[in-house]
């Protein structure tokens, strides 16, 4: 590459080549679309190591090996958003602002904000009315939903966060950091 740049006499072309070389970063992870997760990986993703009290723990090793895609991959986040609407979450959580169930974007996480807690909440359910989705979603789908929920409750919008949906607007879109717009950082304890 450097040889090509040096041998190129035309100064303009040389400038362009240098610019291209510096900007040719590895493929942008944000936009990768993993359409099919290999089955061994998918089943390994179920192996979260939960703390005995049921809150917090460590994600499965394969999660780190995948470079934590579900939190920052635009396609997975949009799938998570689709699943949020399809699986009936708005029935209890509304558009994230809460209904019979707690709000998801007030920055207050009953079982902790970390990815393992949210994953286990969705997969196993929690006392007080949160059903288990182990039999309704695959592991990969629960991870996609987890990533989406985390983005929903984030106080600064991620670039990969989904945008508004094509429906009636009831709150700012996820990429406008609705948590920051609608709630103070530390709401009153209920």
């Amino acid at each position: 590459m450097a040889g090509i740049v040096r041998r190129t006499a035309n100064p303009l072309l040389r400038l362009l080549l240098i610019a291209a070389a510096t900007m040719a970063l590895p493929a942008c992870e944000r936009e990768e679309r993993t359409l099919r997760l290999a089955p061994p990986v998918a089943s390994a993703l179920d192996g979260v190591r939960l703390m005995p009290i049921g809150i917090g723990g460590a994600p499965p090793e394969v999660y780190s090996a995948l470079e934590k895609p579900f939190a920052s991959n635009a396609y997975d986040l949009s799938q998570g958003k689709r699943l949020y609407n399809w699986m009936g979450c708005p029935q209890c959580h509304g558009d994230g602002q809460g209904r019979s169930g707690p709000p998801l974007l007030d920055g207050w996480w009953q079982y902790g904000p970390d990815v393992v807690s949210v994953f286990v909440t969705i997969r196993d359910g929690r006392p007080g009315g949160m059903p288990s989705f182990r039999d309704k979603l695959t592991t990969e789908q629960i991870w996609q939903l987890t990533g989406y929920i985390q983005t929903l409750g984030a106080y600064s919008a991620k670039t990969a966060a989904p945008s508004r949906d094509d429906g009636p607007q009831t709150r700012p879109a996820e990429n406008r950091a609705p948590a920051a717009a609608l709630f103070d950082k530390f709401p009153e304890i209920r």
Binding site: R33, L35, R36, L37, P39, A42, S43, R82, W86, M87, D135, K136, L137, T138, T139, E140, Q141, D166
Partner: protein, 334 residues
């Protein structure tokens, strides 16, 4: 030379008529609408071909006609100019006439495409990424199926078209022209099938990852066969008849399947994916991707993402016994 021209005589019709056969061909018509369209298309094409040949002939003549010695570029004969102006003017006038003719005949055919109010079979089609939800609204009993439409021969079929997510397009070329399914709008298409048979159609508006695999079938039957089909579709799902199918039903209800699919007569009532009440009665699954057999059902359930990458059906982890059982159960849902 003679042999060559004979060969050409046999190749040419085959080439031209290559567009004729086939269940998704605009020229293999199965009804009045498609026939009217095909006739208009052939008429316009014939006139256009003649015009093109005439222009090419004029060009060839212009290039290779006998002419006197070259003169200076600016030496122009005024009389010849006038004659040329007349010819060019006449050609332009002919163009205007032909275009007027096409416009009028097109408008006339457009009007005839939309038949009046008759006793029509009323169907609602809703486009999803990447399958078709079909709801029959006839009478006071409605039922829902997916990707396959049965219609009685000789009766008008009116289809109301809506879209759930993005723009799709309903297109069964052997029966009629296409219409888009647009979110926020309701469109309509209508046709009469006059010949019994299976007509293939496909989504004709780019709708994402699996636009290429969003096919549908329209099956035109005699009125009796259609009524029989209707009755069987109205009925709830067949009960499992052997232990493997019983286990299969349990797998279906306890796994993510029931979270998205409906099988009428069971507790599975979700409408996120195609209605599976009579899935085995349809000739294809996954919107025309695979022929319906127990094996293809098993293959689809085991790994939908390899067969139709990016579609919304997840790859559910099943043990071999569960897979066998659920495919047996699905294949029994006739």
């Amino acid at each position: 030379m003679r042999q060559g021209s004979r060969a050409a005589a046999s190749v040419l019709p085959a080439l031209l008529c290559a567009g004729c056969a086939g269940a998704q061909s605009a020229f293999d018509t199965g009804g009045a609408q498609a026939l009217g369209l095909a006739r208009l298309m052939i008429f316009i094409m014939a006139v256009c071909a003649a015009v093109w040949l005439a222009v090419m002939a004029a060009l060839a003549f212009a290039l290779w006609r006998r002419r006197q010695e070259a003169t200076e570029p600016l030496a122009i004969d005024a009389r010849r100019q006038r004659r040329m102006s007349l010819v060019v003017g006449g050609s332009v006038a002919a163009t205007v006439v032909i275009i007027g003719l096409f416009t009028v005949t097109s408008f006339w055919v457009t009007r005839s495409l939309w038949a009046g109010d008759r006793d029509a079979v009323k169907i609602d089609m809703r486009g999803y990424q990447w399958w078709w939800q079909v709801t029959y609204r006839d009478g006071n009993q409605a039922f829902t199926t997916a990707n396959e439409i049965h219609v009685p021969v000789g009766r008008l079929v009116r289809i109301r078209l809506t879209a759930d997510d993005v723009i799709h397009s309903f297109w069964v070329p052997s029966l009629t022209g296409k219409q888009d399914l647009i979110p926020g709008r309701t469109n309509e298409v209508s046709f009469v099938a006059e010949r019994p048979g299976v007509y293939r159609g496909q989504c004709a508006e780019f709708c994402g990852l699996q636009h290429a695999r969003m096919a549908m079938q329209v099956i035109a039957q005699s009125p009796q066969d259609y009524d029989a089909w209707r009755q069987s579709q109205l009925a709830p799902a067949a009960k499992p008849s052997d232990p493997e199918q019983v286990f299969g039903e349990q797998v279906f209800l306890s796994k993510p399947c029931a979270a998205c699919h409906t099988v009428r007569g069971t507790s599975a009532t979700a409408q996120l994916g195609p209605d599976l009440t009579h899935v085995a009665s349809r000739s294809t699954i996954a919107a025309g991707v695979l022929e319906t057999t127990r094996g293809s059902l098993a293959a689809w359930i085991a790994d939908p993402q390899t067969i139709k990458p990016g579609n919304n059906m997840p790859m559910v982890a099943l043990s071999p016994d569960e897979l066998n059982a659920i495919s047996a159960y699905m294949a029994s849902l006739k």
